[in-house]
Symmetry: D3
């Protein structure tokens, strides 16, 4: 039985800001540059979620990508689309909304939404056409 | 002598919000939907600026696109990149930062930056992969 | 008051076949090549619909693109997505589903869905990354 | 000697349908939705084939990508372009033409076309801009 | 009878250099910058050719895009792909291979290749993702 | 602490030629085809550089991508943009400028530019939209 990876893409847009409250404005600007602008900025994010599993011999699917699409909408996109990642997303509370932290938090939202036998294996977030991040789960920390 | 159009593309990201202060929150949400979120949202904008003119027989250029790039940076991109279009862009003051108004305002920033013999002929602004706007100047109003 | 063009993009996929029933199989294959395959083939179509009008001073919109999106869904996309353009789309009846005829038919579906003061001005259909068609309405026939 | 992966991309379009003959129409529609449409639908597929091997010190190539292009054309693209994946592709006989099964079948077509020292390491099939599948070969089944 | 525009896209890569022999190296570098590098540089060009005409009621085509593809290959792409635009393309002789001059020259290669009733109406050449040029023919010179 | 991969993209254009001096013209043409054209050809290259490391709890970054951008500019892009890869890039001396060799050489330029705790993990070079190469470092040679 073949093990295959399937990917579903979603798009959304959001505002955010990179800054640490306990740092001075100068330090924030030094580390985060324009990304620390107190008046916010934003992006059109691209989110690719990849799942891995054996191909079901009856359906030919790893999993129905419509179900993955709905999980991504219900657990991620509906919470962040046209939202402020610093102020309005409970599952981003207490972390700087860098693309890295965002990808890890999205993994946390989706990992337990997988059907039996299917593993979440990759969350890819593109913040701009030139900047993107990929998280393949906590097991990778060991390997490094 | 051939008349040709040349286009330079730029990218930037910004936050904005669509709302009218004199309207109630309900009316703002009814008209502008999620785009009226008081906590802002944002986009990766794509800006295409097109100029038209005869091809210079010495250089083979309508105009040097490096000069167009610099004009776009100095008069538009540096003012809006990583900025809030409602709060931080003097030349957007008093207009709702819809893509339509944004394109018209960008035209106003660039029209008098053209070298002799070259006409600004198109400002194209893509707000999301699915939504974009094109402005070809005030002469078009007559024609419609 | 500025006149601006706004574009909304949609995606769908469909099956089709180019052939004329009154022609022999040989003639169909000679004219239409692989596109006449009796077992069908299909495409991921990209549809761009452009409208033109004055910018509303209250909203900053030519028209609310959500309304255009809904008109495109209700009058076009819902009828053709995951459908067979030869067999299942009443408003394509009797015409060969070439990209040209498809674009003209889509224009016919949308022209009277425009709000007051807004004109449909362009239907763009991409059949493959290398083949696309643009229709700007019946007034163009005169001009040619 | 460096081990490198090289990828060649191809495009084709095809019709298909997801359904099981032994299932009722209701069950097919319940599981496969619009994809089970008996009148077919279709896609512009994107196929990326990746090979891995040491860089030949004389040519600087893992393998000549022209040869990979020809193998992909002769063994895959010529069989499926402008075809019906359910009816006209012998090497898809008996399997539902899901993207997963399609990617695994393409692997089977190409694995023994590799020159000495080069391994096929990835077949990526994009069915729509939002849905794609990746197969990295039967060895992966063990690892999972 | 509807008048429609159809576009065919092609890709090729070439080397070129912007310089005038009668100018000093300093002047060339001042005007053309890095583009005047005597050791050449190059691009992956994208070429879009657009034709306009009434839709043939029998075929549904403005013209068979396979024929346009072949004309583009025979008259343009085969002459420039993997070539040096300054040294190896007879129909670019004596002009600086700017994108503007290139687009005008491509127009000259294709204008008389149109079938009866079909007009060449646009040559678009993208030199880089950020720089492109559009030529719509000699009639435009009058209008400007 | 999560281990994440972050990718920065850059664009540049260059000329090159694939040939071995010790081979006859016939042999060069036989092996390298049009790529051996003595008058050069060129490409718009896309370069993706991926780094891996734990997410810094203070900044939310694997590393500041601005620093990666600057390292890519200073050590790679400034040396190759608008240059001839055969004649003008010291760190490509003595190797055929295939995409494979180019990716390996870029790795060599960047591997020791990583901040403490961050690993270079992938250099991806796209030569044309259809041809690309990926190098994940010398450790991979063992694994194969």
């Amino acid at each position: 039985m073949s093990v295959v990876r399937a990917t579903r893409r979603a798009h959304f847009c959001a505002a955010h800001r990179l800054h640490r409250e306990e740092w001075s404005d100068e330090r924030n600007r030094e580390v985060f540059g324009d990304c620390s602008n107190p008046n916010w900025h934003g992006h059109n994010y691209v989110l690719d979620v990849t799942v891995e599993g054996p191909v079901d011999p009856e359906t030919g699917f790893v999993m129905d990508l419509k179900h993955l699409k709905h999980a991504m909408a219900a657990r991620v996109v509906d919470d962040v689309d046209h939202r402020n990642l610093n102020l309005e997303v409970p599952w981003m509370d207490g972390v700087i909304p860098s693309t890295e932290n965002f990808a890890v938090a999205i993994w946390g939202r989706l990992a337990d939404a997988m059907p039996k036998g299917v593993k979440l294996c990759r969350v890819f977030v593109q913040e701009t056409p030139n900047n993107s991040v990929e998280y393949t789960g906590p097991e990778n920390a060991e390997a490094s």
